[in-house]
């Protein structure tokens, strides 16, 4: 159990580090999935800890983790779709940090009805 907990902590640490420090969106997405795996492992450990007499593991965290995995999968799919579209449009996937605080970056919203 302690080994699993250490593993979960390690995965979460790695994922969080990658998510914050990596400038590339694809790597951020991968890091998010590593971080997510750590959290799901944590759910598993909580389920095992909550084991009662006759039951191998507490079913509630197991039910939660399935929902969590579905949500993480959907999020990853959406992020990858956006990334692919960005790459198709521009040929690179850098997230320009100048435009984050920029003044002239976002597109004019002037589409006629």
């Amino acid at each position: 159990m302690t080994i699993f907990a250490a593993c979960a902590a390690l995965l979460m640490g790695l994922g969080l580090f990658g998510l914050i420090t990596n400038p590339q969106p694809l790597r951020k997405i991968v890091a998010f999935n590593i971080l997510g795996s750590g959290v799901f492992l944590l759910f598993g450990i909580v389920a095992r800890r909550g084991a009662a007499a006759g039951v191998g593991a507490d079913p509630v965290p197991q039910a939660l983790v399935i929902t969590g995995i579905v949500v993480a999968f959907a999020a990853t799919a959406m992020a990858v779709a956006l990334l692919l579209r960005l790459f198709a449009d521009r040929g690179d996937t850098r997230l320009d940090h100048e435009s984050a605080a920029g003044t002239e970056s976002a597109r004019d919203d002037c589409r006629p009805p």
């Binding site: 949500v71 992020a79 956006l82 920029g102 970056s105 006629p112």
Partner: protein, 501 residues
Amino acid sequence: MTDAASQSVLPVLGIMLPATGMLLMLLVGGRYVEWLALILLPAGLAVAAAIFAAVWREGHTLIYVVGGWQPPLGIALRADGLSAAMMLVTAVIICATGLFAGPQFSQPRGRPERRAPLVFWTLLLAIWAALNAVVVGADLFNLYVALELLTFAAVPLVALTGGTETIEAALRYLLFALLGSVSYLIGTVLLFAAYGTLDIALLSARVRPEPISWIAASLMTIGLIAKTALFPLHLWLPPAHAGAPAPGSAVLSALVVKGSFFLIVRLWFDAMPGLLNLAAAQLLAGLGAAAILLGSILALRQSRLKLLIAYSTVAQVGYLFLIFPLAGAASEPASSIAWTGGWLQLFSHAFAKAAMFMAAGLIAEALGHDRIAELGGIARRLPISTLAFALAGLSLMGVPPSGGFVAKWLLLLASVMQGQWWWAAVILLGGVLAGAYVLIVVGKALAPAGAAAAPTAPVSRRREVVALTVALGAVLLGLVPLQPSELLQIGRLDVHALAAR
């Protein structure tokens, strides 16, 4: 939650109606989407009004226990006074946005079918369903799912026009949101590990101020702050909100960021009332104060109208966080005054910001750009839109009579009553800065057109009137009596009794 509550099917109807409508839209496809929206929007408004009326009349919480399974085994939906008010404001703004967006996202007969209308209406209903789920959810994991639905509906709305910048903005928004959601999820699992339940009412009785609850609360708050775009996690907001089409910006700025703010309040005031101490409250409000000042100053420096409005959202969201030190302290009646003031700020900002984005969208449509320096003469061409912008601006500044005035006055009163004068200084300075950035725009709009003024495109009068009506809504909120509202207290836990326990 502690007082009387009645069983009602209304809360679940509030979620299911837009959710079912969204699926039906996907089923019927492009041509009939608008007609479906025409039926669904009033129906959803009626449900929200019914919930509001029921909570108002009966004076207690409405509960729906899903599948008849009582918590902690099952999941409950609770509509207290706050949820009812949030649902009503959400419904009104969504319906106004629908009216405003009608001509922009319609499918003219005899022309090739476009994808944008179908996507827009589906996302609008998805956002509605998710927001209703956020306000009536009574279980932290259920709220996590609702929050994710909200994000997944909001992100594509940013990228709806399909420009490269908007896709980049959407991707950045999504990455911030993912960090936020996973952080919230870690907090949830820690709380479950420690206390064995995620039901808010049960948690409020069980949570003790100990390290694990502190870590869980901090992680969840950080996650939610990233989604609310509180300083310093606000970087994604301006490009995302400025890049979306005008009706999308209106919903994103007016409602979507408020969904995650609502959860922060649920967390600190309802789920863990014993945990909100002076340091945590002052830290949250300190970030809010930094957001007010920084957001306003950055708004002043923008050269494009939609970005100015987006930075103003960063600033106005900051005010909401003043609720933590002012309403969390055990000093009646000041804390009730701050509680009402904070929520009124949320509601009036929702109306004002929706109106502002709608007006800005129309101005951009007429001119073909939204550069503030070249707005000259627009007040003559689009008097109704300019008036809508100015009225909404009055509410942001906090000029009476407007909802923003009452909200800021109540917050000011509470901070002076509690001797926390530094928040009063921030509120006043924020008002002055808001005045400056609104007046810059209005002044340019009122200036005579330059010699090189481009011809303007015609703009639908109906859409202008919708923008003006929403702005008038922000002003009318100023007629709310200047006193703590009883409705917003319905179903609240007695925070101070718990803290003393």
